[in-house]
Symmetry: D2
Subunit: 402 residues, 4 copies
């Protein structure tokens, strides 16, 4: 009788390569599945390696555009910065990877899905909640969490089972990357008083090494979607990757964050998100121009909720769609162009324009073109301040003569 199949989220690294063997030990046939969500993987190599270490089948999927359009775009329009800082790099890709794993599992008739997360990170939660939501019949396995080996024990097992040991195994960092950014943790970073070492960074130049001449980019948005750079149209994935390059060269988007994980601990993480940070800033400025005040002041409530829901692994909860419906409605007139100067780690918005701009020079001006009704302010202030005035009269016991 054939073994039951498990679909493993395969990265080509040591952990998931060892997991192929370990899952076989548990009696499964392993189907490897690797996604490119913009980190620039060598998919052909990974596909082959999976088979080499024992997978019965090996899928590689270029999911860059799907990731850009269905996930990164939501983060962009939500100005998603967890705790005001982290642009949701890994948190965004997990639901998409889960979706693809489930699709492959259903196609392959697998009974389980496996991921390579440990027991103290957020990603295990994101994978498992997503998989359970997409197909509650699938069992979820977490080999790395389950085997509980030390690094040495894992390497010993790898050697005994013919799993190749990567040459860069001594990297002190744990990295994850996609087109929305790159995260880095561990090693010296575990001391929050220590500055991150330069080798923790890869997508961005240090301020000291950035060019002394700025680049200026004009980003064009249509209904909240970035569609062109300097007049050239790009697919969203390509546009983000392009921006990662040019903004990264100028050192934009380094983030050093002591954050509250979902699993109850604080951790210190380094992120690099040159494209994401540039786009979020530009998009916000275009909203400042085109959103009416009530929307501009309430949207942050939606943004904060969306950010926390995604961070907390609840992408496939119905709340996400409801929040997205709100977002979508707000983007109808977020159309226009933002001019951004990339320089010395900054993405400085120098100008913004839109056919739907609510900035009205005739109302705002202090010149003689002024069309604002100054006398209206008297009545406005009278009523706006009335509750405070009555409160003060009654409750602050100020003597009042009528």
């Amino acid at each position: 009788m054939a073994n039951q199949k498990v679909v493993l989220a395969y990265s080509g690294g040591l952990d998931t390569s060892v997991a192929v063997k370990w899952l076989q030990d548990q009696g499964y046939s392993v189907v490897a599945c690797c996604l490119d969500v913009g980190e620039g993987k060598d998919l052909a190599f990974i596909k082959e390696k999976a088979l080499t270490v024992g997978a019965v089948a090996s899928y590689v999927i270029d999911a860059k555009e799907e990731f850009a359009n269905d996930y990164a775009l939501v983060a962009l329009q939500s100005h998603a910065l967890y705790e005001g800082k982290y642009p949701l790099v890994s948190a965004l890709s997990r639901p998409l990877i889960a979706k693809k794993l489930v699709e492959v599992a259903e196609k392959e008739g697998a009974v389980a899905v496996a991921h390579g997360c440990t027991g103290k990170g957020n990603d295990q939660v994101r994978f498992e909640v997503s998989i359970n939501a997409l197909n509650p019949n699938l069992k979820v396995l977490a080999p790395v969490r389950e085997w509980g080996w030390s690094r040495e024990e894992e390497i010993e097992y790898a050697k005994q089972n013919g799993v190749p040991i990567p040459i860069n195994l001594d990297s002190p960092f744990s990295i994850d990357q996609n087109l929305w950014g790159r995260s880095c943790e561990c090693g010296v970073l575990e001391d929050p008083w220590a500055a991150p070492p330069e080798e923790a960074y890869d997508l961005t130049l240090s301020l000291e090494n950035t060019p002394d001449v700025s680049d200026v980019v004009e980003i064009e948005f249509s209904k909240g979607i970035p569609v062109a750079l300097n007049g050239t149209a790009y697919s969203l994935a390509d546009l983000i990757l392009k921006l990662n390059e040019v903004a990264g060269k100028h050192g934009v988007g380094r983030i050093d964050h002591v954050e509250n994980r979902l699993v109850g601990i604080k951790s210190r993480e380094i992120y690099e998100c040159p494209g994401a940070i540039t786009l979020i800033k530009a998009h916000k400025e275009l909203e400042d121009l085109t959103l009416v005040k009530e929307v501009a002041h309430f949207k942050p409530v939606i943004e904060k909720k969306m950010t926390e829901i995604i961070y907390d692994g609840l992408w496939f909860s119905p709340i996400t769609k409801a929040l997205q419906a709100f977002l979508l409605e707000t983007q109808k007139h977020v159309t226009g162009t933002v001019r951004v100067k990339l320089f010395k780690g900054h993405a400085i918005v120098e100008g913004r324009k839109s056919p739907y701009s609510l900035y009205d020079e005739k109302l705002a001006t202090y010149t003689s073109d002024d069309e604002f009704d100054h006398s209206a302010a008297v009545g406005f202030i009278n009523l706006w301040g009335l509750p405070t005035k009555v409160q003060s009269m009654v409750q602050n016991a100020k003597k009042v003569t009528v």
Copy 2:
């Protein structure tokens, strides 16, 4: 019979100097009152000038420390950035100025208070609501709003009434400043597509002119209050002014904002807040280390409300005290040191430490010192994802086999 007295918020500029005369024309005796809230005014000169143009008395008040401790500190602990960008420069000083005007008015037996705001800004609202709250018996006059003159008409009146015309009258900008920052509007800034000209700035160097060597400052906080720089204790006002200087030299704190005014229009404003931005970033990082997750995730709701209340001129509404009570309670353990690198327009937090740090290396580490219970995650994920799983089973009509 003697004229009734009015206390005028006097700046020494053309508008309020003309207002002295204009108020006299209305039959008032004018008591001038000028505050220094950190903009570095020549108080002696202003005091004299008020008398010269006709005031019957002239008060000058150094309110820097009161402003720092009772107003700027609230903004700092609230991480107050209106619409995510504006650190409430003028909005913060208005209630204090109103308070001092009312105190002088009560001392002088005045029947009215006057300010020099026009009819389309936020400050008229802030002044009038504050004055009404503090003493509802006082009448509030707004000469500039009331006379409705063009610039030319005002100058003509000044000439005819012996009011000296300042030599820098041609400045294209309208400026306000205090120790929390400097605001600048008008002129070329009224086109939101145009980059602000260099002459719009005064407190900060342009990135192109900042030094190529960074300054590193260690800011020490005690219960959320900045108390020392690089080991030297300062009063809060002095500390902020000191930081304005060093951070300004590195170009920190330039802000270019298209904002929604309370009076219903969008305007484009330039702000410079080198000290404020540096302190807000440093304070937030210390909170990231010392606030428990529930507080860290809810405090932004309080911060947003506080920011809007202050912006909207409602400082003396009872809501402010209630929000402050919340804030104060959260600051008990916000004690420690933050190391900030000032460089090329950035205030980069490189390290943070606290005796009350909730970052626990033993829990966060991926080394063998790990004390985190990895197996707990299994149960956690099971319950955390249960609502989403049940929802999916029932409402997404996924066939489930038990």
Copy 3:
């Protein structure tokens, strides 16, 4: 040359009848426009009366279904209760009336629209903001606010101008009504310590006079819309009117509220909303059964915002559509039946069922059918409580032995 036209919101009462004459005095031709939004007006009589008092044209519009489907339904799905109490009776009809006035004005080529509100209520704001949003070219007139007459002066003017004086002019109350409810203010109600007199009510029986036998109704919802009562399908307007009748008979939906008006004062109002209250309660219970926790806990934030936006006259702000998009998404599975016992002023939900119920007896039960994984709780609690535990260890200085 013909007079310019104004479209007047005409009710048939004294104020708007006098307004016809008064507007003529100002040089307008008056087009009267009266809507039935469920208050059971005699439209034929009102149409005729408008012409009698001098209108050049008279429109009467049965807008009950449009009001029910496009306005009351939003309030229902928002569980809209301003300040936790007031179901937005008048606030809901004003935008619809404004919309119809603007449509008539555009059809008639009128240059202005007029309403009969005074200067201290909320309705003037709702009318004027709505009309400005729908057609900023139209001038808005408020005759009653403008003429500033006492009751006696108004009656005198009416007599001199042949405007008939209604016989029930001595009513001590000011009433507004539509199918979502009835509001009543003024007179003895202005003392908040006094109980409302029985004659302030009209749609509901007093508890003392309600039947001693309950009625039980089964309300069927489809995607959040009430579609049937006791198995009989109704249009939404008819269903609400039907419920007003039966729930009113049982005294359901009396509300006595001291509320904060938009214009800065507190007022005391009496409302009767038998159908609205019954439907809101039933709808909430069906949501309790069918909404996943994350949606159930966040939707109140949307509801509160929607309620305040509507109360504050901002129906035609883009925020409304964005909030509605959120709402709509949440209603997809709010399908099912709620059994309500109407008795002694109560609408008691006794039972609720849905094909999309997320209540899972197998998980909830304490019998041997229990499928809940009890052991999962251990890990859940461990991580759920971890931040509080670490905080306590570090910041409460509890001595801990490891």
Copy 4:
């Protein structure tokens, strides 16, 4: 060598009596601890029974006043209704019980604390998070969750170990009670379509059996604290118990709720809270009179957070104190008297008065005493509606002639 001690939360019922024996089997000496938080327990009997079934010591603590003043009062001032319905009965007492258990454990030198909760309720979370926060050195045991017996197995163990079987063991319900109310679950209640049977209730009469004559009570509040009933001063615990009696007689406070538990499932619960519901209604009405609009509209955000924090077992998180600080500040002028008619299941507020009332008849009236400035509304509306008007002009492409 003596056994280590465990302090057990002891109720006198079967589960915790069996737990005494079971903990002894695990090698512990058991110290029983029973609190009266207003449920009217026979403490002497319970104290004795604990010793009878084998406890080495037995504490009974009358914690009614502490519960009323430090816990129920917070719920009252928060108008705490979880999911709009549940007044936090059990959720409120758990942190206090945990506190007392920890105090006894520290006094007795115990190494552990034990509670009788199962693995699928909220109370296990509340107990364990609280105990961990108060003394992280104490181990927490959950015998009932751990033994995992069926009812029959438990009874068999009891018989074999000489634990007396209560005579009312066949009760189909699981009950918890304190002075803030009574909860009831299980049995027939597990079908949400079925109406709760009359025997599920104990504190309230059914509507059918309530008196035909109302009781009217005047509740006096001082700074948000209820201090007297009908002119007679009571301690808070006594006042609540008194109200439970009189409001219960009139059938006030029955609640039937399908709620989202923290542990991820929906459950159906019946609550009776006659005193709590009456006090919450009365307190809210006094706030309606005495809180300024900004506070009244923001306080619900604090209330919702406080309610969820308490429900979710996080009472001892620092967030609670910060929320309480906000609350406390808002209660300064919540002083006055509320007249409540108790009748047919209703607590109807008929009148409210306060020396700090912000309701100003001179501003609110429509009589000739009116002091409101009607003309102010024109300017107010102009600016209030300006953003919506500009948005409409620009983005709705309405042709506008100037």
